[in-house]
């Protein structure tokens, strides 16, 4: 790094489109081609409101997209703007290139980095090597509803909701209940992202279903403020999630008592 460069200064990109996905979740499409790999994240910002770490939702080479749940000051402010501050991509990617078959398991708002993976693998002609299990709380909470149909001709995807409604005809139950029924070969790499308890149960279920411990990968969420390994907030044991993650081999973090908190 040359000392005059300031990594904290974002570039500003126009928001080309916004899509309201669910009651509290929206997608923004930015005026840039994504150079990010699935699993990586960006620091998005609105001047005066602040910055937030958000995973890339689109595949490499497509329009740069983010799907965001508005829960705080920054994530609500982003929805209101036509121009967004962006720095990144930061962090590592799902290691989809190292394994032949991939089983990706997403809970709740963990789905955007998996959508990025889906698009990337379809674009590389590897859709058939990917199976996705996605669980949302209710049918109303399912993100990318319209995209899911278009993917299904290229890859396997199973959906479930924790609680159904009168019109829901699909699976009801936690996403972990689908793992045992997975058609993926048991030497597949297993990518898991979602709330801490869901990830913990998904790991246990994957192991029980015969998947290999050394091929399980977790995407971890921690408070991140800098994205570049210096602010000190996002550690899991001796790793900073922004710097060594956000994706970790399960075997490298399984001893950490704070893993599923």
């Amino acid at each position: 790094m040359t000392t005059s460069m300031n990594e904290y200064i974002p570039r500003f990109l126009d928001v080309k489109r916004k899509v309201q996905e669910t009651g509290d979740t929206y997608t923004i499409v930015l005026d840039e081609t994504s150079k990010a790999e699935p699993g990586q994240f960006f620091m998005l910002s609105v001047p005066g409101a602040g910055e937030a770490p958000i995973s890339v939702a689109s595949g490499t080479g497509r329009e740069l997209e983010f799907t965001i749940r508005s829960v705080g000051k920054v994530t609500s402010a982003i929805r209101e703007r036509d121009r967004i501050g962006v720095r990144g991509p930061y962090g590592n990617a799902w290691p989809y290139d190292k394994y032949e078959n991939i089983l990706a398991i997403a809970g709740g708002i963990g789905i955007p980095p998996v959508r990025s993976l889906i698009e990337r693998m379809i674009d590389k002609g590897r859709g058939e090597q990917l199976e996705v299990l996605y669980g949302a709380r209710t049918p109303e909470d399912i993100v990318y509803y319209s995209l899911i149909d278009s993917w299904s001709s290229n890859m396997r995807m199973r959906l479930t909701v924790d609680r159904g409604n009168t019109t829901w005809k699909g699976n009801v139950g936690f996403v972990t209940s689908l793992i045992g029924k997975s058609e993926s070969p048991r030497n597949s790499a297993v990518f898991i992202i979602g709330p801490p308890l869901m990830m913990k149960n998904a790991v246990a279920e994957a192991l029980k279903s015969g998947f290999r411990e050394d091929r399980i990968f977790l995407s971890l969420e921690r408070r991140m403020e800098c994205g570049i390994g210096v602010c000190g907030h996002c550690n899991i044991g001796h790793y900073y999630v922004c710097e060594s993650g956000p994706i970790f081999p399960y075997s490298s973090v399984k001893q950490e008592p704070e893993l599923f908190l």
């Binding site: 790094m1 000392t3 005059s4 460069m5 300031n6 990594e7 904290y8 200064i9 910002s45 001047p47 005066g48 409101a49 602040g50 910055e51 749940r69 829960v71 705080g72 994530t75 709330p195 801490p196 969420e221 921690r222 408070r223 403020e225 800098c226 570049i228 390994g229 210096v230 602010c231 000190g232 907030h233 550690n235 044991g237 001796h238 790793y239 008592p257 704070e258 908190l261």
Partner: protein, 305 residues
């Protein structure tokens, strides 16, 4: 290379350095030692400053959207324990944070080696007051100023007398005798996650964060927007908001956060960077209003508690 300088020669050196750098020094003000601009070597104090001069590299609060500063500064009178903090932090943040990196590369530190062990200090646990990483290192005794110089700054010293004495070795020997090193080796695997020590500390701690602010190795900061500025401010891992996210908080209890502080210092940093994140300065103990002593983390009998 080692040199021996008289007070006049030190003044001369000071002037040479002043031509290339804005010079700061430790000076006594109203009974406290603080750092400020100095024009005269004579007023630089040998005493330990009230606060570690961490602000030379990480300001307490600043706008990260501002231009990265390029001023060249020289700092006389930083104590070895405080300077060592920067060398340890370098391993995590140098080359990544643009502000820290620019300041680090543009600042010359002239560290002063103590003559006597300080009350409560335990720098010998981490090698003692004579540093192996330094730029210009000074030890004053009755013979004058013994100066140890790194290659990069040797050109300032060409016409000064070489020092053949064992002054630096002798001060290390004296410290090792009078300030017994604590048994820190292996602490990274000895410490216990569910030790009663964390609860004991949390029953006293008032979450003031003074330990973090006084520490020469604590580098964590918070970033938030304030008007047009994106402000970076020193943060404290003892405060409950430190790890709060929309998904919850991985360290809801004060005992969780105290454990994090000590695991960072004596386990995580050692595993990640090969060094303990502590210099034995004792500032966190001196500034703690409820007398929590970091030395206890090192000496505690985890096996038989």
């Amino acid at each position: 290379m080692n040199y021996i300088l008289s007070k006049d020669e030190m003044q001369h050196l000071f002037s040479r350095i002043s031509r290339r750098y804005e010079v700061y020094g430790a000076v006594e003000r109203d009974g406290e030692v603080v750092f400020e601009r100095v024009n005269d070597f004579g007023i630089v104090s040998q005493k330990k400053s009230r606060y570690a001069p961490k602000e030379f590299l990480i300001e307490r609060g600043e706008n990260v959207l501002a231009t990265v500063p390029q001023e060249r500064k020289a700092v006389f009178g930083i104590k070895s324990c405080d300077l060592k903090g920067f060398y340890i932090m370098d391993k995590q943040i140098l080359g990544k944070d643009p502000f820290y990196t620019a300041r680090r590369e543009n600042t010359l530190f002239v560290n002063y080696v103590c003559n006597e062990p300080c009350n409560g200090g335990f720098c010998t646990t981490f090698g003692g007051p004579v540093l192996s990483d330094f730029q210009i290192q000074v030890l004053k005794d009755q013979e004058g100023y013994h100066v140890m110089v790194s290659k990069e700054f040797d050109h300032y010293f060409r016409d000064f007398r070489r020092d053949e004495s064992r002054a630096f070795e002798e001060i290390t020997e004296k410290f090792m005798r009078e300030m017994k090193p604590l048994p820190v080796e292996g602490i990274e695997s000895r410490m216990k996650w569910d030790s009663k020590l964390w609860k004991e500390f949390s029953s006293k701690c008032i979450s003031c964060g003074a330990c973090n602010y006084s520490c020469p190795t604590c580098y964590c900061f918070d970033i938030y927007d304030e008007g047009e500025e994106r402000k970076r401010e020193w943060d404290s891992c003892i405060l409950s908001g430190f790890t709060r996210t929309s998904a919850g908080n991985v360290r809801p209890d004060l005992s969780d956060r105290l454990r994090q502080r000590f695991y960072h210092k004596f386990s995580y940093y050692k595993k990640a960077k090969g060094e303990y994140l502590c210099t034995g300065c004792n500032r966190c103990v001196d500034d703690c209003p409820v007398s929590i002593d970091i030395k206890e983390v090192i000496t505690h009998d985890y096996l038989n508690e």
